[in-house]
Symmetry: C4
Subunit: 242 residues, 4 copies
């Protein structure tokens, strides 16, 4: 027989899976509601409907939260666990109607979506990702530090080239950093860009060096993921041989 | 002797290959015609010529369609198959002259171009791609979900930073999503960008995390493709040893 | 003793290397001269100096060209070879002073720079690149075709979404293609971008699919290059064992 | 007993680690101070505080510099070593108050941050990076050269297409190079972009070829790094077997 504990905490039974998916769906509904509320010029009836949906979702989340405490073996531990706190913060803003606008905390509900990855195959993919991250951790940290140093160097450089001609856009090294971020990530909004010959040549060199540094972590992560997959395969084979 | 069936359905005989390439060429001609028709200020003689080309291509496609039904072993199955339906939709808009503008359905002819990949070496490349996709499916789905969550989080964040200063560009979370898409994909049109210090720092952090997530699937796909090639090699060797 | 043939055609002797490097340097000088000439508002003395440099470089290139013919074993074959024709086109525009502006042909001198890669270690890198290209040829062609199809589909889609609101920027499918190129390569100049809600959502989906397709060839090439390096290693080992 | 030499030069003892981290922190403080100083409209009290912080950091750096000379086995060698010179340049601008603005030399302090990577695990990651760089050196140089050639070709091409219509933006080949850099790195600021049909088609082809060339080094570096990791693993195993 399937117990309530199994329905709430696991998803390998049919009712458990249905419960999980319904909760996921409700989180999405709640996030969409939250997004719609930010639209200006909403009609009063729409606002009212959104409010009713909010009451309904918070109601269900509250029951779910209490249920999870009820079925938890170690109740205190659950309340202070990562998911326990998120579940609490997801419903709390509704009950606290102080002067402060707590609505934005509702976006934390988003984090509850990660529960969806508890499914077996995804938990394996996450494990693989975790292994890949450990494999490449040092390179990633090294490249991240070098990226930061490069961002700072670019900012200082462009500040000296452009400050005189564009005092508004390159007001200080901090303002130049915004240019460095937008350029080295190749986003290039076009709100700030060098106009002096020196600044343009400097940009060229920074991009030549920078692209090879900012974009490498992505490649490292990708190859590490494929290595993690290989290790998994080898482990599986070793396990099967026994 | 080469039968009509071989000419129409296969491309390993010379007439079959010529038939296939002519049809591909005609599809391209038909798509170019369609594109030219969208040009404003076309002269009447040009319009007339385009119309005649359209009549000709549709005529040939109709004959080809009937021919394919004729040579198909299971006629009903072909009519309702993927390529059968595309072949039908490619000619249907021409014959139905209702009030509705059905011309855009003609772009479906594009999908007929995929028949070109029936050639042996490409079908192998597609198989390899298919294998790579299965290898990396879970990572791809995982990263796609995390990308969506990240897009939403970025939108919410930037909305709180920029809404007050730029109420027009960051009107609601939905409007902010457009910024999030253009930024995290590094397209950066420059129609919307943060102007507050908070928004700029937030963009920096989102880009640092985001680039490492949005760009990884590409790397995963590339390494999975090379692994699929290795598996193919191993299979071939195993086959040769027997 | 070192013959003239060795000096001109090879670079493993000291005079040969000096000859090669001097020629490379002169090509670069000639290209810089060519670029400076395009600057507007040049003073007359500068123009005169540039002209003298041009006379000098063309003079040396002519002597070199005649020398290469002289030392070639099969003279006719050299004249009609790839490098033979480039060497000719590099000096021809100077001698032909017809009404047509032939100066732009001088940029072909750039191609002569590829002779620099004749050095042993680079010729090995090029060979490796060649092997990588053959390894991944089918995937590259496949992805290139799919990229073209995707570009066309994006253009048609955005045309229907944006044509009504921005008749100037999205005048026809051809005009929309410019948007598709700038967007799917993530360049994003910002001269054309969707403004309708439909167009923005369409852009989102196209970018999600498109990035995973347009950027994959780069990854394929990179992994194929590392595989080519492995194959080389294996060949070397096999060779050493014998 | 821990000697002063160990504290200053090594970081495997507790006092050594604290000394190292304090110095790192002070460098960051000094760089932040330097950045804040570039802000316009600073109040006088802020300027004074910044000046005091500067005096303090330079004081500490001077003591550290003298200490490093004191504990060095070969004092002259240290003074003229890479880090020795950087340490000197980091404090020199403060003591020299000539007419020239030497403040920008203070950014060299940034390079002192690299001392942080002396920690064992990072020095291993750097070694790995070094090995990866040697593995892929030829490809990287080759691709860098081809990138330069491609940038030049793009500049020449776009100059001929756009110079007539946009004489201001594409004034000469040098001005066109700025466009080529911004486009082939996909930054796309949007300050210069082609407007003629020919220029747009040329851009399309250049991007198709260019992306596959400019972005490949990143991929090469990533795969080379993962290979370097494999070689390390093999070396470790070979070492353990002995």
């Amino acid at each position: 027989m399937i117990t309530i504990k199994q329905i709430i905490e696991e998803n390998d039974t049919k009712p458990g899976l249905i419960f999980d998916l319904s909760m996921q769906l409700l989180i999405v509904v709640s996030l969409v509601t939250f997004s719609i509320e930010t639209l200006p010029d909403l009609q009063l009836p729409t606002r009212t409907s959104l409010h009713y949906i909010e009451i309904f979702t918070v109601g269900v989340f509250t029951i779910e939260y209490l249920g999870r405490i009820f079925v938890a073996d170690r109740k205190i531990a659950f309340v202070f666990s990562f998911y326990g706190l998120i579940d609490l913060f997801a419903i709390l803003p509704f009950y606290l109607s102080t002067g402060v606008d707590l609505r934005s905390i509702r976006t934390l509900r988003l984090l509850r979506l990660f529960r969806a990855f508890k499914l077996f195959r995804y938990s394996r993919a996450i494990q693989r990702f975790h292994r890949a991250f450990i494999l490449a951790k040092e390179e990633l940290i090294l490249f991240f530090c070098v990226t930061l140093i490069l961002l700072f160097l670019s900012s200082v450089g462009i500040y000296y080239f452009e400050n005189q001609v564009q005092p508004e856009n390159f007001k200080s090294i901090f303002h130049s950093m915004w240019w460095a971020v937008a350029t080295l990530t190749t986003v290039g909004y076009g709100d700030v860009y060098p106009v002096t010959v020196g600044g343009k040549i400097f940009t060229f060199f920074m991009l030549m060096i920078g692209l090879g540094i900012v974009a490498v972590p992505t490649g490292i992560l990708a190859t590490a993921l494929s290595e993690a997959r290989n290790i998994e395969e080898i482990n599986k084979e070793t396990y099967n041989r026994k």
